[in-house]
Symmetry: C2
Subunit: 333 residues, 2 copies
Amino acid sequence: MVNLEGTKDKMAKGSWVTYRPEIKIHDCTIRDGGLMNAHRFEDSFVRAVFDTLVAAGVDYMELGYKTDKKLAAPADFGPWKFCDEDDIRRVIPEDKQGIKLSAMADAERTDYHNDILPREKSILDCIRVATYIHQIPTALDMVKDAHDKGYETTLNLMAISTVRDAEIMDALDTIAKSPVDVVYLVDSFGALYSEQIRYLTLMYLRALEGTNKQVGIHAHNNMMLAYANTIEALIVGANRLDATINGLGRGAGNCPLELLISFLKNPKFHLRPVIKCIQEHFLPLSKKIDWGYSIPYLITGWLNEHPRAAIKVREGSNPDDYLTFFDQMVEEE
Amino acid sequence: MVNLEGTKDKMAKGSWVTYRPEIKIHDCTIRDGGLMNAHRFEDSFVRAVFDTLVAAGVDYMELGYKTDKKLAAPADFGPWKFCDEDDIRRVIPEDKQGIKLSAMADAERTDYHNDILPREKSILDCIRVATYIHQIPTALDMVKDAHDKGYETTLNLMAISTVRDAEIMDALDTIAKSPVDVVYLVDSFGALYSEQIRYLTLMYLRALEGTNKQVGIHAHNNMMLAYANTIEALIVGANRLDATINGLGRGAGNCPLELLISFLKNPKFHLRPVIKCIQEHFLPLSKKIDWGYSIPYLITGWLNEHPRAAIKVREGSNPDDYLTFFDQMVEEE
């Protein structure tokens, strides 16, 4: 008989027949999806997503951004670009039915001192600060502000596929001393492979050891790896997992919530409501907005570039002219 | 600074900046894709795939099955159900331009003594024997027959997500003593996760240690993991990788060749010809045949069942009635 000693993954945190109750799902359907329609979702759509997430046992729902109205004119966007209290309360019931709400605050694009209310005056529970590596000092001030106002906080370090390890480690050393609750590994360009996700997740966990902070993962599907990379990160210890219904999100989209829930073994999660919602609300939406894996996104992910050029192609008059796009992108390298 | 000792994947066989020249790609576009159109591809389509694979540097091309004509009436199928010499030679040039050709022979569905010619009389280079666990004795006789006739051989053990470890190990012990060149891990139902792929690949490698046999991986995309699982297997040591252009294949399809080539670092592989072929030949085909990831396939993969019920839904009049399908399938469990 074959000797199987040493074939078990020594880095895996859990086992196949148990689950880690500390694993939480953070749904970003409305927030990340809003990047594809200038945040113009009907109230009924947002409510359907909320009802679905409650029924599915999802822990957090992200509604949109807290963008500074001096930087973006409200007339040009739907309400979820700003997440005003009144807009949220118009759609979400006061008791929130057991789910926590978050909004994203971009470093240098948020008037956080004024626009983020003290938690007791807000329906929001969590502020997620999104930052590029060079904005870390601003981001940490935003985290402190939100923490002092009573919110749960996360710090989402974006586009790390373009950042050197030494800088990430430097950033993590600083972040470890902040009051932030969760530190996110964000593969903004959908450019990372499972080996890199594993390595980076372990790097984050090491840097935050003993701080009681959690590591989160936010993946994009440019190379059809958003879901695979999300479970790779969770296997080695990430406890906060971003996903979106039907993978709705910028460009190639995100880790599909339905796949993630089918994988997780905590009996509090339920697949059926998500499938129902996809059929009733996302199939019609997919006729109006183009998102999800396609060849142009593979090309930008492979080249480790922002997906904006691919989005432009997919929204243009020749969305399937893959070869011209390939030649252009490789030429520019 | 963070201590990164021990974060590297100790089970990984290669590094990021080298490649393993022993890794070979086995394209199954026409063979697995043929399951979606009764093997009725135009000659010009098959030739376009051949030309693409040659230009892309792919090692093997699989054309179809060697099905016993007493079991399947030629009038009911296209030529690639049988792979007669004349049909192959009508499409593929005599010199084969550096690519090797294979056909699949299903255990108990192939009149192998008669229908598989001595290699010197055939344009084929490789016979791949597909078998369920209970057909192993037949499969091994088929391997021996093909090997004695001069072919390279593979043994593709199907549907292992439904087989107990002890039986797989038993099978591997026997297979290790056969003359077969490559032993394939086949996730027929698209039901396996990366951890299971890793574990099984290592099990196969252990069982075949010292035999000079290679391990292959054939994945399906029911849970959007075909590509991720293929690279998981290759990372820990699988050297023969199945893929299909644009993921064409039964139901949710296979590991997309374009993604696999974008990952592999051997400079002999080229991405551009595959992208060109997708645009010119697979986009038109996708208007006629439905393949690729969708919710019904997620459901059968999740339940570890054959995708036939999902294929039926996708080919029926209500291909997007996910919820009815979910309820039916869960009810039957």
